[in-house]
C-alpha cells in the first residue's frame, strides 16, 4: 500500500510553485491547510525524513526543502 498524504502534497505543491526554498514552513504557510499535528510539526521543522514517512512526495520534499539535503 502506497502511503500518500494528499494534504501534505497539496501544500508542498503550492509552496513549490512559489519557487522559494525553505528550511521550515511558517504558520502563514500552513494556514488554511487541513493537516495532522504530526504533519504540521514535520513541516515546521523541515524534517525531510519524517515528511517522507508521513506520505509526502519526495520530489516535492526536495523542491521545497532543498537546503536540508546534504547532496
Amino acid at each position: 500500500m502506497i502511503r500518500t498524504s494528499y494534504a501534505l502534497n497539496k501544500l508542498l505543491t503550492a509552496v513549490a510553485r512559489q519557487h522559494v526554498m525553505k528550511d521550515g514552513l511558517t504558520d502563514d504557510d500552513l494556514a488554511g491547510h487541513d493537516l495532522s499535528d504530526a504533519e504540521r510539526a514535520a513541516l515546521r521543522a523541515g524534517d525531510i525524513t519524517r515528511l517522507y514517512h508521513l506520505g509526502a512526495n519526495p520530489y516535492l520534499i526536495r523542491r521545497v526543502f532543498r537546503s536540508r539535503f546534504r547532496i
Binding site: 494528499y6 502534497n9 519557487h19
Partner: protein, 277 residues
C-alpha cells in the same frame, strides 16, 4: 507509410547541464560523448518527428489530477522556460509540438481502449530540456511527448507501460503518411531523489537493466514490481517505465550502450543508449 527511423534512451537530470563542473571530468566527458554520438546518429536518421516517452515531476500534473498516461497536444513546449534555463544553465526555448499527430494518437487510443489523458499546456523541465539540449540543439524537429506517471505512486505497471508503448509503435507504423519518426525515452536509471537515501546510486541495478536492454530481453523488465524498482533503483528508477514503453514500440530491437556513468555528483546512474533494429 510512416516508419521508425531511430530509437534512443537517455537519463535526465538537471545537474547534467546545471552543475557540470562538480562531476569528474572523465565521467562527464564519456557521458557527453554518448550524447554527442546519439545526436550524430539521430541527425543522420533525418526524423520528421520525435516521439518522447517521458514523465512529469509534478510540475504539470498535481495530486488533484494525476494521469497515468497523457498525450501532449501543445503547440510548443518550454524546454526549458526562462526560469528553468537559469537553473539548468541552458538557453530557454520553445520546441515545436505536433498536436495533430498527438490528437490522432489520442483518438486511436481511446477508440482501442488505451485511455490516454491529454494536455494542451505542458512545461518541460529536465526530462525534456536536458536530453533535447544535447540531441537537437537547433530545435528544428517537432516533438510529441507521451507522459507516463513515474513520480507520484501508485504508478502504472511496467507491463502496462510496455503495452502502451507497443500501441504507440503500431500506431506509428499504421500511419499512411511518409513520416520518419524517432523515438526517445528519458529517465532513470537508478537514483534516489528527496527520499532518506537521496544521493544513492545502484550500479548493479543499472547494469542489470542495461544488460536486458542490450539483449532485447524485455520479460525481466516488464515483470519488475514497483517495490523491486524502489528498493534497487530508487524512486528515480521508476522512470525506466519510459524506456520500457519505448522498447514496447520496437519489439526485438537491441540496445547499444554508448555510455554509462554512475555520477554521484548528479545523484544519477546516467546512460545513453542507441537502440538497433
Amino acid at each position: 507509410m510512416a516508419e521508425i527511423v531511430a530509437a534512443l534512451m537517455t537519463s535526465h537530470a538537471p545537474l547534467m547541464t546545471g552543475r557540470p563542473e562538480v562531476s569528474k571530468p572523465e565521467q562527464r566527458d564519456r557521458l557527453y560523448g554518448g550524447f554527442h554520438e546519439l545526436r550524430r546518429r539521430l541527425t543522420a536518421a533525418r526524423p520528421d518527428l520525435i516521439v518522447v516517452f517521458v514523465n512529469d515531476h509534478i510540475q504539470n500534473f498535481p495530486y488533484s489530477n494525476m494521469p497515468a498516461f497523457c498525450v501532449g497536444l501543445a503547440e510548443a513546449y518550454d524546454a526549458p522556460s526562462p526560469g528553468g534555463g537559469r537553473f539548468m544553465r541552458i538557453p530557454p526555448r520553445k520546441v515545436r509540438g505536433a498536436p495533430a499527430w498527438g490528437m490522432a494518437l489520442l483518438e486511436r487510443g481511446l477508440a482501442a481502449g488505451v485511455d490516454f489523458a491529454y494536455s494542451y499546456e505542458i512545461e518541460g523541465w529536465d526530462e525534456l530540456s536536458v536530453p533535447l539540449h544535447f540531441l537537437t540543439p537547433e530545435g528544428n524537429v517537432p516533438i510529441a511527448p507521451v507522459y507516463t506517471n513515474c513520480a507520484a505512486p501508485p504508478l502504472p505497471t511496467p507491463r502496462r507501460c510496455h503495452e502502451v508503448g507497443a500501441f504507440v509503435g503500431e500506431f506509428i507504423r499504421s500511419r499512411p503518411t511518409r513520416e520518419r519518426v524517432a523515438l526517445l525515452a528519458t529517465g532513470g536509471i537508478s537514483h534516489w531523489v528527496g527520499t532518506p537515501e537521496t544521493g544513492r546510486i545502484n550500479p548493479e541495478f543499472d547494469q542489470r537493466v542495461l544488460d536486458h536492454v542490450v539483449r532485447a530481453d524485455i520479460d525481466p523488465l516488464v515483470r519488475l514490481t514497483h517495490d523491486e524498482i524502489e528498493r534497487d533503483g530508487g524512486n528515480g528508477g521508476q522512470e525506466i517505465r519510459n524506456w520500457i514503453a519505448l522498447l514496447g514500440a520496437v519489439p526485438a530491437w537491441k540496445g547499444e550502450v554508448l555510455a554509462y556513468e554512475p555520477v554521484v555528483e548528479w545523484i544519477t546512474g546516467c546512460a545513453t543508449v542507441w537502440v538497433h533494429p
